[in-house]
Point group: C2
């Protein structure tokens, strides 16, 4: 059976067996059966209940079967409303009856410890061997409004619509369902993944990505099962549809709570952030955003740019909207001259015609309609937000109708997105309902409205960017020498856990990184000789423990200025090694690294690049300033390897000190292209050398003259 | 008449005259009269309407007066429901009748340009001369539920309660009123300040601060009339009651929108942030927070610490709460051993007993009651959040009752604050209403709940801190020499706009700042002589334009390393001046600054301190890293002068690089006391030298050896 056949057996089954069906709504099997029938499912329904069958009772009008063995062969979907102990043999029986998909609702599996874990493995084995699709265990079930299917034990059935939701947490399903019904937000599918024994978030993403009825995918996850699989699925699907994910456990404290809850190790927050960014997933930061964003993406087309027009009947809320815009990529462009002229002709004298456009407290529907029509025709404006405060003179419901007319009527031929913000409770309720019914997103607060429109613009901009220049893998960008792998292999053979000093720099050089020519001198004479070979001027760095640790990682004074003549090299060698040996005899001074200094930036930046392997997502490349500061200040950017050029570019732009690299404020200008190449090189090393657990290249000296790796440490797995 | 008499005439009048009263509710004068009577006001009401009086019509059962001149002498409050043109002569007439307070509702004053501005000045003059308190113009009116007074033209009357709200924007009053009625949030006073011709936000703060019925003050402002007066009032009131302010126009874009709306220049966002912090005002960042915070402060007592217990029937929302806590000062302590034992004995086996405490999806009210009782008795726990997801087995209403019982009953003898979070819509509505009715704050989302409890804890911690160590003015902390003022005066006499180089350092030294001994050398011989006087080693800095600019502000290469002998000084002078003259002949090389280098940090930090005068709030002291980086990275802390020691301490703690100053990560340890003294010195200079428009001390060299000002620039007003 193909994957899509199996998926359709789950999501749009022609027949459903409720195993453990009950007459009592206080039992799971009763709720599922009641929900299924109440939703108006038009396929064949079988109910299995030995006791009811023996007693000759009907279950909600159906004649129950005494056992699953009485099911006809090849039922599409079976829902197991049975406790854990009964679920295992039942699943085997259903497999033998050729059932194509199953949902296990019982809890008590992996989340409860070793015994549950083994039981869950057994479930998976049975399903895999039978080629049966399995949802759960510990699932709340499934809803598909498109075929009136509700095989869940949640209360209520949402209105049909273009949003689909998948969730690791059943509780979150119930909450979202309850809220959605209140908001009138239409849903296509609700999928409670539970323990994800077979169907995980990557599979759910692909299924919903292929589902023609799903326009927006909403998800809640605590952990992902396979980071790379998730990344691949999310990237593929997010290119086609908006994917909005709320990830719980995104702080260290939250991650600990995830482990306590699910018993599974979570990837690092930085890796999740990077994965979401690289996949083009919209990262929902708070639960309240789930709804405002879902509504916006479900109802509005993407804007062609970030120019927002705000129309308001009160100054204060307009200012709050302007404040909110300043925190996003949206701008409030001044209307074009022609637009201003038209507004001036039609609006009262005291109205503020700039942006926010203040229609004044006595504005009625006509003023909104006129202003919106003119602004939506303005080439500088790509989206509009109509705000209304219930003043003594305002007519909320009529104004809502005017907004609907402006948004959906001939005044908006390009269907630029239009949203509304109604600041009040009872006074604006009918207006809010009218807007909802007409498919105009309607928010309570200016900040929420602006954040949602900014997310809509952000995704549109990213999609446009990717269409113009699809992210290309930059694997072959730099020269690569397999010597890099040989060095690492040799170190492994020696049983080393870490490589530093000259050897690590050699490996980095072989891997195509722009490494400064460096040699290890154990005597001043050797230093002078190496300086001659490398070419003066050179810099000396204290070398410790066989040359594998350089002293500037330990002592500030272990580095010389550039030395221009052999005598200076000799003197510096003596000064550095003797003072270090005196100050820290235990450090194991072994000499000095002699490093090329010609054309090396002296006034530029000391940067750091590297990678570490995330347990979920694999190599995570990092970039920041060298020294302890970056980590402490949190000013480090991350992306998962392999990097695209765009990823590398974004890593540079994402650190707060990026303007400094560009020379803003009179500093040195650094070649961003050279830094991008460096990051791509680090990414490739991470990808090609699985024997490395991580690498840190620091300091990377960057200035007008170029970008140079002056120090390296490699950690072996 | 005393101020408090006049305030009571406005807020709790014994008699009210509605001038321009009308029978028609579509007119402002009709709405005000109807609201006043509908609210059940028990004082004397006069209605003034010449036409109705002439026609012998009654107005809502009252016999109207033909003119305000017929009012009895000494009416407490008159509400002018008249257009602008009529308001001015009427106010004068009311003044002559001894009316003690007036509200002018008409718009069309300062906000509309010069003519309106003059009319507003005339209003102010009439009120001042008559000793009459004036609210408005452009006000929406006033509500005081405590004496059933509603003299506003807003729709509706809120329930009585402990929250009072003042607002510059009438629209915001209407919105808040409409929302509050929906939320069932009880209010004491609603004050629409309008144009603030007399009664401004500072006066409103003091009035509400003195009002025994007001427990929480909520405010919305776009600008403040007098920054220092506001700061003083806010500081005084916030020490007694929670003051929550939403400031619109807190971004540059928002500030521009404020100017467009009110025509008044706003203070800088940094100055507002500093003023709020220093006054102890809780800065409401978004409109949605107004309600969550108001509810929390109105209903809960301050917690004794930041330990929060989260109780939940679903893991996911618990994780989101943990994530949210990690972004605040709240912690989720592990329950004490005794608590764990009690929980273990009573909760089912799979429940997670740590924190968040997961009661599992089938948790009923008893499990909540038990867990809350044990946790509220735990000494590590200072507050509790009960979260409920409407699962198939949950009983939301009964659980709400259990939460109420745990919070208000004998199980909570210390009345630790307890809040609830109900994740759903219709399924939890009755539970939400029960909690509201019982005075338990109830939130929709875990993040909102945690943020509100964190604000409650933040204020409690500040109040405790101030009680233990009331902020003392540190004016006399450092030696001060009036020579500082003489130098500045001399520069003014010369018509200079700016002072730099040696002179500025001399002024800084006289002002008590730790300045490096510095001299200006115009020749190498003079440099050697100065070096001898100052004491070797010295550092040379290129001096430009008569010594008022030092070269390191222009060229990176304009500074020497520390020079230990006269010959090195001579050579360095030649090298620095000649290369600068060659590279940038236009720069006006005048020699070198010779600066003491003995005991000066070489490996420490290059910092920057200074001040600028904010148009609203006066001198704003700043602190950050030297160089262009700080501003670009936004890593600068600000406080308004005069600083207390605690302010100075907070300024150090607020920059992101604070851990580096403390030596975290192996860096140098800097004397924080010396940095505090530096900031206090800058604050005093700003305070004592009004002739300075600003000052910048950079670089400030800070390391283990001490803190030293190496460069100074003073801007004259």
């Amino acid at each position: 059976m193909s994957e899509s056949q199996s998926l359709s057996a789950l999501f749009a089954p022609a027949s459903v067996a409720v195993v453990g069906a009950s007459r009592s709504r206080s039992k799971v099997g009763g709720m599922v059966l009641a929900n299924l029938l109440a939703a108006g499912y038009r396929g064949v329904v079988h109910a299995v209940n030995p006791a009811a069958a023996a007693a000759g009772q009907s279950l909600a009008g159906l004649a129950p079967l005494a056992s699953s063995s009485e099911l006809p062969h090849g039922v599409d979907l079976a829902v197991l409303c049975l406790p854990r102990a009964a679920a295992l043999p039942e699943l085997a029986l259903l497999a033998s009856r050729g059932v194509r998909a199953a949902i296990v609702l019982a809890a008590g599996f992996r989340e409860t410890g070793r015994q549950g874990f083994l039981a869950e493995q057994e479930l998976t084995r049975i399903a895999r061997e039978a080629g049966m699709l399995l949802l759960g265990p510990n699932s709340l079930g499934l809803i598909n409004t498109a075929c009136s299917l509700n095989v869940s034990f949640a209360a209520g059935h949402p209105a049909p619509g273009g949003v689909s939701f998948f969730s690791q947490s059943g509780a979150m399903c119930v909450s979202v369902l309850d809220w959605a019904m209140g908001l009138g937000l239409g849903f296509s599918k609700f999928v409670s993944l539970g323990n994800k024994a077979c169907l995980n978030e990557a599979a759910a993403l692909r299924a919903l990505g292929d589902d023609p009825e799903t326009r927006v995918i909403l998800g809640y996850c605590e952990s992902v099962e396979d980071g790379r699989e998730f990344l691949a699925a999310a990237r593929e699907v997010a290119a086609r549809k908006p994917v909005l994910l709320l990830k719980a456990g995104i702080t260290p404290a939250g991650a600990r709570a995830v482990s306590a809850h699910t018993g599974s190790a979570s990837g690092s927050p930085a890796a999740y952030h990077a994965a979401f960014r690289q996949a083009g997933v919209i990262h929902v930061g708070e639960m309240s955003e789930l709804f405002s964003l879902a509504q916006t993406f479900a109802l509005l087309l993407p804007p062609a740019g970030g120019g927002l027009a705000v129309v308001t009947n009160a100054g204060g809320p307009g200012i709050l909207a302007a404040d909110a815009c300043a925190r996003t990529q949206l701008s409030l462009p001044r209307p074009a001259a022609a637009t201003l002229e038209r507004l001036l002709a039609e609006l009262p004298g005291f109205a503020s015609l700039y942006n926010p456009v203040d229609l004044l407290g006595d504005a009625g529907p006509d003023r909104y309609r006129t202003a919106l029509a003119y602004l939506l025709a303005d080439p500088n404006i790509h989206a509009a937000l109509a705000m209304l405060t219930p003043t003594a003179r305002s007519e909320p419901l009529q104004t809502a109708r005017a907004v609907i007319e402006a948004a959906h009527g001939p005044d908006n031929p390009q269907t630029k997105p239009v949203a509304a913000c109604l600041l009040g409770g009872a006074a604006v309720r009918p207006a809010r309902e009218a807007l909802h019914a007409a498919g105009i997103p309607c928010f309570d607060y200016p900040e929420t409205a602006v954040a949602a429109l900014a997310a809509l613009h952000g995704r549109a901009a990213r999609v446009r960017r990717d269409e113009h220049a699809p992210p290309a893998d930059a694997e072959e960008f730099l020269p690569w020498d397999d010597e890099a792998l040989s060095i690492i292999e040799a170190a492994q053979t020696q049983g080393l856990r870490e490589l530093g000093g000259v050897t690590a720099l050699e490996a980095a050089h072989a891997a195509g990184l722009p490494v400064l020519t460096t040699g290890l001198a154990r005597s001043s004479a050797e230093a002078v000789r190496l300086a001659g070979e490398i070419g003066l001027p050179v810099t000396l760095r204290l070398a410790l423990r066989g040359g594998e640790t350089s002293g500037d990682e330990c002592f500030g004074a272990g580095v010389s200025p550039p030395l221009a003549d052999p005598e200076a090299v000799r003197r510096a060698f003596g000064a550095i090694t003797s003072s270090a040996a005196r100050l820290r005899p235990e450090a194991g001074v072994s000499g000095c690294l002699v490093q090329a200094a010609a054309g090396i930036p002296r006034e530029g930046f000391r940067l750091e690049a590297g990678f570490a392997r995330d347990p979920q997502f694999g190599p995570l490349v990092s970039f920041g300033m060298a020294g302890v500061g970056s980590d402490l200040l949190g000013d480090v950017s991350h992306r998962l390897a392999p990097l695209t050029r765009e990823d590398a570019r974004e890593m540079l732009r994402e650190v707060r000190f990026y303007p400094l690299l560009r020379g803003v404020g009179g500093g040195q200008v650094v070649s961003l292209a050279a830094l991008e190449r460096l990051l791509l090189g680090v990414s490739r090393l991470a990808w090609r050398a699985p024997a490395l657990a991580g690498a840190s290249f620091t300091p990377v000296l960057a200035g007008t003259e170029g970008v140079f790796v002056a120090g390296a440490r490699l950690a072996l797995v």
